[in-house]
């Protein structure tokens, strides 16, 4: 498993957010995306997830352009349906991506809330549920946008263990964060805010 990004460039409107970015991450590796607001961290994660199209360059996973189904993405929103219970939310993800929803709930320490409608969950609990979905999907590449936002200290530590386990089994973690993340031996990538095309 190896992720390679070659000369990736991406516009948002008429602003060049990613400018010929090149890097690679090996199996078991972790990459932290750093930089001020508007530097393009979230854009890069959306590009890697295959949501946003590149305007130049290439992203490959094991030499292949096709990444669908091999990526677990956690954006700013939790993608938790308020009308479904915690277990149903995970069961929906499991039907598409595979995995055991109840085991994932137990790992996240949410088994007591399994049958509660998600609208009753607090913001932190919803985030934990969204993190539990990551472990469910069996995807080697994890893309995390501010994953620990709203989590308490115990949950952050628990999440650190989950990340370590994922990397041990050959997974890759790429995370954008402003909060300290419990992750060891992570490389960092510093992004800078792009220059508007007109100012060049």
């Amino acid at each position: 498993m190896r992720l390679k990004v070659e000369a990736a460039s991406c516009f948002r409107g008429d602003r060049l957010v990613l400018d010929r970015l090149t890097f690679g991450v090996h199996a078991g590796g972790a990459l932290l995306l750093l930089g001020p607001n508007g530097a393009g961290k979230s854009t890069l994660l959306r590009v890697l997830a295959g949501l946003k199209r590149l305007d130049g360059g290439r992203v490959t996973l094991d030499g292949s352009d096709e990444r669908a189904g091999k990526v677990a993405y956690l954006g700013h929103q939790d993608a938790i349906k308020a009308g479904l219970t915690a277990a149903e939310n995970l069961a929906f993800a499991a039907r598409i991506g595979g995995g055991d929803p109840l085991a994932a709930l137990a790992t996240a320490g949410l088994e007591t809330l399994a049958s509660l409608p998600a609208r009753m969950l607090s913001a932190g609990q919803k985030r934990r549920l969204a993190l539990a979905r990551l472990t469910l999907l069996n995807a080697p590449l994890w893309l995390l946008d501010e994953p620990t936002l709203g989590l308490d200290t115990a949950s952050v530590e628990k999440f650190g263990a989950t990340l370590a386990l994922h990397r041990q089994s050959g997974g890759i973690v790429i995370a954008a964060t402003h909060l300290p993340l419990p992750i060891e031996q992570a490389e960092t990538l510093e992004l800078r805010p792009g220059v508007p095309a007109a100012a060049r």
Binding site: K52, I80, I96, L137
Partner: protein
Amino acid sequence: MNGFVATLQRELTLAVRHGGDTLGALLFFFVAATLFPLAIGPGPETLARIAPGVVWVCALLSALLPLDRLFGADFDDGALDQLIVSGTQASLIAAAKALAHWLVTGLPLLLAAAPLAAMLQMKPASLPVLLAGLALGTAVLSLLGTAAAAIVLGARRGSVLLPVLVLPLATPVLIFGTMAADAAATGLTPRPHLLLLGAFLAACLPLCPLAAGAALREAVD
């Protein structure tokens, strides 16, 4: 295909949980159609003459109501991102949504149309034709509506744009649907009109999910 079944099932579960939203379109259908006898007068002949048109127009407008949130909720809470990242074809997601829209809105409208037509003094003989036309027509509306809902996704004031986009496209459906019912009422054969409705459905069935899928990819980009 997993994504299609899972999305459909989730949509139906959510429709049952949010029963109020689901019934909204149906209640609107009843209330809007009830206004016509009040405004035009209860003369049975006038009502019988306009009944198919009233049922069709009200069904058309009611089917528009839930379209705004068809993709809107998933777009806002990130669920659409998750579906696309999971590798589910965007057009399959759209097809599941269209089917869910028909089951949750089109089918109840179809069931409610019969008592409504009776209330409007429509001849019982032409009722089966009206319903056959509506069955095809509501399916077309669900497909067109899904495509339009995907296209306006992320646009400012999308809910205003949506009817402006769907209603002109739906005019052929309205014309052939009402003409079929009129033909049955005057003793002519409704067959050509129903066949044209069927042809319209056959064209929309592959095209609308594809268009909607492309629009969804664009919306998350």
